[in-house]
């Protein structure tokens, strides 16, 4: 079982390395969206400091949505997904591995890039650190919830738009507690409560989402 998990993660990472452009597009999109905001809002530092956590988190959600297509669509088109559905291994383990690999090439780099954006928005050391911790805790939930949507919209026409409509509302709690943690620390309060809830969301989806994704994929393959 753990062999299968590692094999799927390694396979997907290898594919991500070979399809670097796809991965880079998502991350560049994230950077560009965040960079656009000061151009639109104006260079007033106090305003930027206030809106920074929200902006970074919204951009992270959009980047996650943008990258979801990659999760199953290629495997679906070339028949690899059929093979994954017909194995003696539990499908939830396989999809959990795929979601983990997806997080490693989107959620994790986004978390690391947040350090740079913290400096850009003049957030200060502690709020930047909390922003990164909140992204580290919250982005796994984005990959997992997104994978449910990706599974459900597989092979549908206009699936790209539908997936945003399906998944974005489900991202709301992650967004609220993620941005809330940074705002709390900037306002001199403890971000602990927000961070614990974010962690709980990610743990909860780690346990439940794989089953939902597996069921969604089986329905989509019919």
């Amino acid at each position: 079982m753990s062999n299968t998990f590692t094999a799927v993660v390694r396979r997907d990472l290898l594919l991500a390395v070979r399809q670097r452009a796809d991965v880079a597009n998502t991350l560049l999109f994230f950077l560009v969206v965040v960079t656009m905001v000061p151009l639109g809002v104006g260079p007033e530092l106090n305003t930027l400091r206030t809106i920074a956590p929200g902006v970074v988190w919204v951009a992270a959600l959009l980047a996650a949505i943008l990258s979801l297509n990659r999760l199953f669509a290629n495997d679906y088109a070339d028949g690899s997904l059929e093979q994954m559905l017909l194995t003696g291994e539990p499908l939830p383990i396989i999809v959990l591995a795929k979601a983990f690999a997806h997080w490693l090439v989107t959620g994790l780099p986004i978390t690391l890039m947040a350090a740079l954006l913290g400096i850009m928005f003049d957030l200060g050391v502690e709020p930047t650190a909390i922003l990164m911790v909140s992204l580290l805790l919250g982005t796994p939930a984005l990959s997992l919830i997104g994978a449910v949507g990706a599974g459900l919209t597989l092979g549908l026409r206009g699936g790209g738009v539908l997936i945003s409509l399906l998944v974005l509302p489900l991202y709301v709690p992650v967004l609220i507690f993620g941005a809330g943690a940074v705002e709390a620390v900037a306002g001199g309060q403890s971000p602990q409560g927000h961070l614990l809830l974010l962690g709980a969301l990610s743990l909860g989806t780690t346990v439940l989402a794989p089953w939902a994704i597996a069921a969604a994929l089986r329905i989509s393959m019919e």
């Binding site: 094999a7 194995t87 003696g88």
Partner: protein, 209 residues
């Protein structure tokens, strides 16, 4: 033993087949024949458990495959209409990851042998995107060499795009599988020489309901 009970399948507005009952005993190759659109691929997908039949059941060793699930799939190797070959992986990586992802051991030596048997020995390091259609088909079929312990092979048009030598290698592979009491269910339009015990099932063209 693979058995179907009163299988029925409708796709869209068409009844593809109804009251389909057959048994495939160990050591037999079942050749499903029929015109385009007669439901061969749908039948294979139902036998795999990818598609639910409109009515009826598929049994494996006397138990419904809906109950057996992973226990059934563990004994199944499927080569579908799509190859399941990743363009960005090399031929060797495709064979090894293909096996590992489905929970089968894929030792390097056996994967190499499988590719060599299918005359892909010189291409094991080539990315699949640079292989021809026939070569990609061979990479997909190479997985069967690593799936010898799977009792049931379901192959959808396995001879498509293969050259004369490829057809011979595959027929031989199928013959060896039935000789060790395996079951092969396949569809093909070619008059490929199928070795061993072969039964034939003809599906008639679908009629609108």
């Amino acid at each position: 033993m693979l058995q179907t009970v009163d299988l029925e399948c409708t796709r869209g507005e068409r009844l593809l087949f109804t009251r389909l009952n057959f048994e495939v005993a160990p050591g037999t190759c079942l050749h499903i024949a029929g015109e385009n659109g007669s439901g061969k691929t749908s039948l294979l997908r139902i036998l795999c458990g990818l598609l639910s039949p409109t009515a009826g059941h598929v049994h494996w060793g006397g138990e419904s495959i809906r109950k057996l699930r992973e226990d059934y799939w563990q004994q199944l190797a499927y080569v579908g209409h799509l190859n399941g070959v990743k363009d960005d992986l090399t031929a060797l990586e495709n064979v090894r990851y293909g096996a590992a992802v489905t929970g089968r051991a894929a030792p390097l030596a056996r994967a190499r042998d499988a590719l060599a048997e299918l005359a892909l020995g010189n291409f094991e390091g080539s990315h699949a995107r640079f292989l021809s259609q026939g070569q990609k088909r061979r990479v997909a079929l190479a997985r069967l060499f690593l799936a010898e312990e799977a009792k049931l092979w379901i192959l959808d048009e396995p001879f498509t795009a293969l050259d004369v030598r490829g057809v011979a290698v595959l027929s031989d592979l199928i013959g060896r599988h039935t000789a060790r009491d395996g079951i092969v269910v396949l569809t093909t339009h070619q008059d490929a020489p199928l070795p061993g015990r072969v039964t034939r099932l003809d599906l008639r063209a679908a009629e609108p309901i």
